[in-house]
Structure formats: structure tokens, C-alpha cells
Amino acid sequence: MLGFVVVVMLLAEASVGLGLRGKLPGLPGAVVVFAILLVGAHLAIRRFAPHADPLLLPLAALLNGLGIVMIYRLQLSGRNGNPGLRVTDMSGSATTTQLLYTGVGIAALIVVLAVIREARVLQRYTYTLGAVGIVLLAIPALLPDSNSAVNGAKVWIIFGGFSVQPGEFARLALAVFFAGYLVAKRNALALAGRRVLGITFPRARDLGPVLGAWAVSLLILVFETDIGQAALFFGLFVVMLYIATQRTSWLLIGVVLFLAGAGLTAMLFSHVMERFTVWLHPFQGANPTGIAFQPVQGLEGMAFGGLLGTGLGQGQPYHTPLVQSDFIFTAFGEELGLVGVMALLLVFGLLVQRGLRAALGVTEPFAKLLAGGLSFVLALQVFVIVGGVSGLIPLTGVTTPFLSEGGSSLVASWILVAVLIRVSDSARGPAPQPIQDEGMTQVVRAV
């Protein structure tokens, strides 16, 4: 299966070379390095999680590999005599950097699998990780703009040439915190409480810390003007609460709260309102060249690709600003067409499905809750960004897991997959053997 991934990547790279210059590219060094990394990850899984779901690694690797090929294609555009315009906010060594982060991500995967031999180990660090999550979220808000803001979103930690998006990791840490906390309190949350209007509300003291953590993270996100991340946190929180308590009322409250929050922020913050305008009327008046320029370019790019796409290297994705990060999905839409993006969505869907399957299979509540929550948030992230760039929902800037350029998202995505692999190993592994030979227990025949 990994061999198949490498072959797909090789063919895609050859296609880029043919599309751009009409000849095969040189030695595909990146593919070789990528293949070596995959073999390493595979061996680590065989060693540390031998019963893990065999599909998780190849699915993630396929997405990561295609992302690298697309970044390679975009980086070549307009450079070294290649046709097209240069993607100006993209470094000439973006592919190497992305490959490096892939290495870091796979290293993180191996470390997670090696160190955390059972998911419930994490439960010990519930409050530690909760605190870490909040701090990670808070840092960009407290830093000066020069060390934290890029394109208006204040979500970075930038020092020298090095930048990290701590929110990506904070999401993982807070997922562990929610899981640990909710598992400990779920009986209280599910059973105790007062019934008001047919809905049972939990006691304030059971809910306080969770609501507090959620409110703090939301506040920070509003100050950091990162609506996409806020939506992901909120979705993660509500769904984990629902899985823990099994109360449908939580989902209803969540949806109502979300719509109210969206409406309120739209009224309070002009940049949120603008997102709605752009979503509903992208082609109205001066919007296509003004506030809706980026989404319109994305839509026209995907439309230009049509059913089968222009072929890698033969479209014009470079017209779309930030096509290498938030809008990379539209570049796939343009060059691989409807067929290509449907395949990508199916790969994402399969990845989510395998994660949920692990959550269903595992018996331990903490692991179940964590895997369920993480799988859902992966699906939600794909929905928010792909739905955003394809005009289904208002656009909010979150990264496309595994595809977008950028280290934080890639490493965090690999850690997420590592956790799912760990949980799936527990789910599919043999049931713990009852201890049989404590000394020589005498077997007595009952007559």
C-alpha cells in the first residue's frame, strides 16, 4: 500500500514536469526521501503498534505526498523558465521545507507511538495538557504583532526565520484535556442535574472547568481573529461532550450557541461580516477584484479544471493568493479536476472513518472519547476549509490537513494520526490475557 503511495507520487511528479516543461523532471530526490520516511514510519508501527489499522498510515501518506507534489508544482511556477507567474509569498525551497516538516511529523509519530504505549497514559496529564493548550493559544495574543501576526491573523509565534502556529498543537492538547475531564466526570454530567423545559442541565460545579476552558479559548481566538480555529474548537468541544454524555440536548444547545455566536460576531466584527458578504455575493459589483478576489480566483480555478482538470502543471493556480496554504484544495480542483478532488475527499473520508472505527472498537472510555473527538475534528477541519474554498460555507482560514504548506499543521496532523494509530492498535489487538499461571494454581475438577 505504501508502495502504491510512492508510485502515485512519482507519477504525479513526472506529470508536473511534463506539464510545466514538456519533459520528465530530474531525479525525484524528494520522492526517495519521502519513501524512506514512510518505511521508517511503517517499521515503527510494526514495532510499537503491531495491531494498528493498516490503512491509517497509507491514507495520511498519500495526502502528504500529493501535498508535497502540489507544493513542488507551485514553487516551480514562474521560476527557472517555467511558465506561469511566481507565487510571490512562497519560498524557492518550499518543497524541501515541506519535506523537512514531513520528516519532523513522522518523527513525532514514531515518538508518540514509542512513548505512549497506551492511550490512557495521557489521562494522567489531563490538567497539565489543558494548561499547556491554553498557554499555547494565549502566546500569540500576548506577543507583539511583529512576532505573531501574518495576513491579519494573530496566530503565530515568530522568532527569526522560524514560525509556529501554536493553535494546531493546542487543539490536540485540549482534546486530551476534554477527553480526560469528561471521562472522569461523565457520570455526574450525564446523570446529575436539574431538568428545565425537558432538558437536563448539569450542575455548575461539574461543568465549570470545561466551560471555562472553552470560553477562554474562544475569547483568545476572537482576539486573534482566527474564526476557523474557533469553529474547530467549538465543534470539538460540543461533540466530545455529546459522546461523553450521550445527550442529544448538548448537540442542540451547541448548534444554537454556534449560530448565535456567528451572528453576534458578524455584527460585532466587520471582518466577520465581510466573510458573509463574500460568501453570498462573490461576483457582485467590485467584489471579484476587491474583497472577494481570493475566493473568486479559487472558484474560477476549480471551475476551470472542470471534470478532468487541466493536468498537473498545466493550469493557472498561481492566480489565487495563498494557493499553497489555505487554497491548495482549489489548485487540486484546477489541475486534477472534479475526479481528483472527489478522490481526495474520499481519502479524507476514509481516514476519518478508520479513526471513528478505532473509537468504536476500543473498550477504554478515555481512548474512545479521544479518538472520536479527534476523528470528528479532522472531518470538521476538512469541511470548514474545503467547504469554504468551494463556496459551500463562508470562508474561514484553516489549513487543509496534510496538503497545505506549513510545518505546524503537518506535524500536528501526523501526531493526530499517531494517536488514532495507537487507539486502533488497542482496539484491534488481542484482549488482555487473564493471568493464568500465578504459581501453580491447582485445578480442581468439579464433580
Binding site: 459522546i243 471551475a303 480542483g333 473520508g349
Partner: protein, 499 residues
């Protein structure tokens, strides 16, 4: 907790289904609409990446390329070029990076390969890895006639002028030339700054080189309109045959007190000449008098039968030639002027050719057209012209009368075009026609426009090969300025088709 996880799985499934439906909607159904959105930079850039179809002139039996796209060496960009650009500019039009005109405009989707009729072929090309390609547009234009027309116009002292030649039996346009004109190669530049510069120059040029005088500008028809007046007179039995006598007082007293005189105040025969003599001498008073007796609505009716008073698409849009229903147009004094192609009468050079074409084709006017065939890449014929009848202008018998009268114009020593389109001038080609010398401008202060409409009658059961209309703005006498141009076009065409 499993029940909740299963429900969340369904929610995830729903999200992915929504995404899949949306990308299908976007890329399959909404794509064509987005492609035509204004300012779609991808579609704009795409026009240079594929080979636009050629435009070729097939009127002489062989293919002469008049517009083609070639790959610029060392790039992937195609450059449009027009061999003999000025000669064919009124037909081809231009194809700039921003806009198109002429055949480049009307056949744009076929030339660009975006027409739905080409989509099956484009789809298979996509699957087999071949490049998308535009279709070839084959025109009815005769390179011999077109070249002769352009040379004759350019050699005529630089007067603004236009000439159109038609095959009367089909309506196929054999030549369509306008002067002064432009070189579409200058506009085919891919450099936007240079294009703007050229465009500004052309628009500022007082000689109006971008104006297609053959179909987009109208002129007074002058005496050539007497063909229509005669048609009405014969068809309504007001005049029985070509030898019937008509009143030609000199001058003609008009009801409003004014007088209508013949050119130079000459007397028309003995004052009551046969209509055929009034025609070959082009007596204004005889036809002015007939017009008053016919009335304006009848004249307008017959002008419509010759294709006037409505727009045409050949497929280039043609400005309607008119005998307009302006206030007071039925006033008999004014109708007398209408009947001799003055007052508000205005026709295109194409209309002049159509007058003769209808007579040449036994009264039946064929719809004029330029596009003979459109051939897709891979030589599949996408469209093929079907000739159609525009109207039955007059009966074959009346057409015979008209032809007899037009014969005298060029063959009677007293005919207005005897010297310039008669047997001595044409080298034994029989041309029959009608001259026109139209006064125009305020108080008729401008130089006269020279008009000539003519055709070569069919012989031995063959249909008439060619009908020509010429208008030279400020050229003076129709016989002197316009007729020689028509003769040159006819000679070139017949020479190319004699062997």
C-alpha cells in the same frame, strides 16, 4: 458511548456528502457560467494557449488562408496573423487580446473551439492527449475578386469607397472590400500597451479606417434606385413594357412649387420617351413623375422586396438600407426625390450589389452570406451553408424588362455607362448595370457620391456568375468613378473562373 460515536459518524458522512455534492455542482454545472464571468483571468489567458482556427477564402476553388494562428518559436503562445491583412480586413475583422470583430467575432466560438458543437471532439482530444483546436471557417470570398476590388479601391485617388460582389444564384459573397482600411496584424499584438496605442491611433484617424463601408455605412443610392422605381412601375402595370412611353417634362413641376430637373438640365428624348430610353439616359423627371404616381408606400414596398428596410446578418451585421418612414414621407413632392434615390434614401454598397443580384437571378433575391463551411479539426464538417431565398423581388418577366433596360445603359451609345462599362471598356465581357450620381451634404454642397450596380447576365442556360455594387464617396459621376472598379472586379473574377 458507541451510539453517540455512530451518530457522529453519520454527521461526518453528511459533511463529506455535502462537500462532494458541492464540488460536483461547482465543477460540473456551475463551471460554464464561471468561465464566462467577466474578468476570468484563466479563460483570458487560455485564448493564447490553443491554436485558433484559420479563416480561408475558397471562392476560387482553392484554399487561400487569410487568417491563421501560429506558435511563436520557443513559447507556448499562439500568434494570430493575417496574410494580406488590409485586403481582407473588412471580412476577417480583427482578433485582439480583448475583443474581436468581423468573422473573428461572429464565428468566435467555433474558431476558439469553445462552441458546444466542438465539445465532443474536444473531449476525445482531452482523453487522447491531443490539443484542443479551433475549427476552420471557409468563406465564399473569391481571392481574385477581393484582391482586384482592394487594388481598384486603393488606386482610385484615395476616396472612401466600398465594393461588394455577389453570386446572384446563391447569394454567396465573392468580394467585400472597403477603403481606407486597417491592417489587422497591427491589432493582433499580444502586447497590451502596444495594442492600446494602435487602437488609439486607428480611432483618432479622421479617415475612419475601422469603418466597414461595405455593410456598416449607408449612402444615397442616386439614380441606381431607378431599378426599384421601374420594378414598381412594371409590377403594378403602371408601365406595360420597356417601350411604353412615359412623361419626362423638363423641368418637372412639383406640387410644392419646386422643380425637378434632369442632370445638366438636358431634355429627355422628345419629352415622352419610352421608359427604356429614360432609363439608359437616367432621366430624373421621368422617374420622379412615375414615383409620384406610384406613391411612397408602394416604392417602400418594392425597396423592401429588394432586401431594404431590415437588418441582415451575413453573418456580419449589416446596417439596414432604408427608404425611411420619416414624418411627411408620403408628400408627393418628396416622393419624386425618393424615386430617384435622393431625399432620405440610404443604402449600403452590399445593397447596391443586391439590386443587381435580384435582377440577375430572374427576380429572386438570395440571402447573401459569407460562411460556406465550418470544418472541425479532423476535417468533420460542422456547418455547411444552405442557400435561402430572401425574397421574390419581381417576377421573372419584370426582371427581363429590367435586364433589357440595364443592357442599354452599357450598350447604347447614349447610355450613361457606355464608355466605362460598355463592350470596348470590358474586353467583350457583357456587363449590364445602372449608374448613380448622388448629391449629398447640406444644400448638396459635398462632392457627388459615385454609384454603380451591375451584373454579368447568364448565358447558355448558365446562371449569372456575378453581380457587383460599388459606391465611391465623393467620386463624382457614377459612370466615371464607380463603374471601372466594378469592371475590374468582374474581369478578375471571370479570369479566375474561365479555366
Amino acid at each position: 458511548m458507541n451510539r453517540a460515536i455512530l451518530r457522529i459518524s453519520l454527521a461526518c458522512l453528511a459533511m463529506f456528502v455535502l462537500l462532494l455534492l458541492n464540488v460536483n455542482y461547482l465543477q460540473a454545472f456551475r463551471a460554464p457560467r464561471l468561465a464566462s464571468a467577466t474578468g476570468n483571468v484563466r479563460v483570458f489567458n487560455e485564448q493564447f494557449k490553443y491554436q485558433r482556427g484559420s479563416i480561408i477564402a475558397t471562392g476560387d476553388g482553392s484554399d487561400v488562408t487569410i487568417a491563421a494562428s501560429q506558435l511563436i518559436k520557443g513559447t507556448r503562445t499562439y500568434q494570430r496573423s493575417y496574410p494580406q491583412g488590409r485586403v481582407y480586413a473588412p471580412v476577417t475583422g480583427y482578433d485582439t487580446i480583448y475583443s474581436t470583430s468581423g468573422i473573428e467575432h461572429t464565428e468566435d466560438s467555433l474558431l476558439a473551439g469553445t462552441d458546444p458543437r466542438l465539445s465532443v471532439r474536444n473531449f476525445t482530444a482531452l482523453l487522447t492527449g491531443k490539443q484542443k483546436q479551433g475549427a476552420t471557417v471557409e468563406l465564399t470570398i473569391s481571392p481574385a475578386a477581393q484582391q482586384a476590388a482592394f487594388t481598384a479601391l486603393a488606386g482610385d485617388g484615395g476616396h472612401p469607397a466600398a465594393v461588394v460582389a455577389i453570386s446572384p444564384s446563391t447569394g454567396a459573397i465573392l468580394a467585400l472590400a472597403s477603403y481606407p482600411t486597417f491592417d489587422p496584424n497591427d491589432l493582433a499584438t499580444l502586447d497590451g500597451t502596444k495594442l492600446n496605442q494602435v487602437d488609439r491611433q486607428l480611432l483618432a484617424d479622421k479617415r475612419q479606417p475601422l469603418l466597414n463601408r461595405a455593410i456598416s455605412e449607408t449612402y444615397p443610392p442616386g439614380s441606381s434606385f431607378k431599378i426599384v422605381t421601374s420594378s414598381a412601375a412594371f409590377s403594378t402595370n403602371l408601365v406595360k413594357d420597356t417601350n411604353a412611353l412615359v412623361q419626362a417634362p423638363s423641368p418637372l413641376q412639383l406640387p410644392n412649387g419646386h422643380q425637378l430637373v434632369n442632370d445638366g438640365g438636358e431634355i429627355c428624348g422628345d419629352g415622352t420617351p419610352p421608359i427604356i430610353q429614360a432609363f439608359w439616359m437616367s432621366c430624373n423627371t421621368a422617374f420622379g413623375n412615375l414615383g409620384m404616381r406610384l406613391t411612397a408606400p408602394v416604392l417602400r414596398d418594392y425597396s423592401s422586396r429588394f432586401g431594404m428596410n431590415k437588418p441582415l446578418a451575413i453573418p456580419l451585421p449589416v446596417v439596414p438600407s432604408v427608404l425611411p418612414e420619416v414624418p411627411g414621407w408620403t408628400d408627393k413632392s418628396l416622393t419624386a426625390f425618393s424615386a430617384i434615390g435622393q431625399f432620405n434614401d440610404a443604402v449600403t454598397p452590399l445593397q447596391e450589389a443586391m439590386f443587381s443580384a435580384a435582377v440577375a437571378n430572374h427576380g429572386q433575391l438570395m440571402y447573401p452570406y459569407l460562411v460556406q463551411r465550418v470544418v472541425g479539426p479532423g476535417l468533420s464538417v460542422i456547418t455547411s451553408a444552405k442557400t435561402s431565398v430572401l425574397s421574390q423581388a419581381v417576377s421573372p418577366q419584370v426582371a427581363g424588362n429590367l435586364e433589357a433596360m440595364m443592357f442599354q445603359v452599357t450598350h447604347n451609345p447614349g447610355g450613361t455607362a457606355y464608355a466605362t462599362a460598355g463592350p470596348q471598356a470590358t474586353g467583350n465581357i457583357t456587363i449590364v448595370g445602372k449608374t448613380g450620381t448622388a448629391q449629398n451634404g447640406i444644400d448638396n454642397g459635398n462632392l457627388n457620391d459615385a454609384v454603380f450596380t451591375c451584373f454579368v447576365p447568364g448565358t447558355g442556360g448558365q446562371p449569372s456568375p456575378i453581380a457587383v455594387g460599388v459606391i465611391v464617396q465623393g467620386g463624382g459621376f457614377g459612370a466615371d468613378a464607380a463603374a471601372p472598379i466594378a469592371v475590374k472586379v468582374i474581369q478578375a473574377y471571370l479570369r479566375a473562373h474561365s479555366s
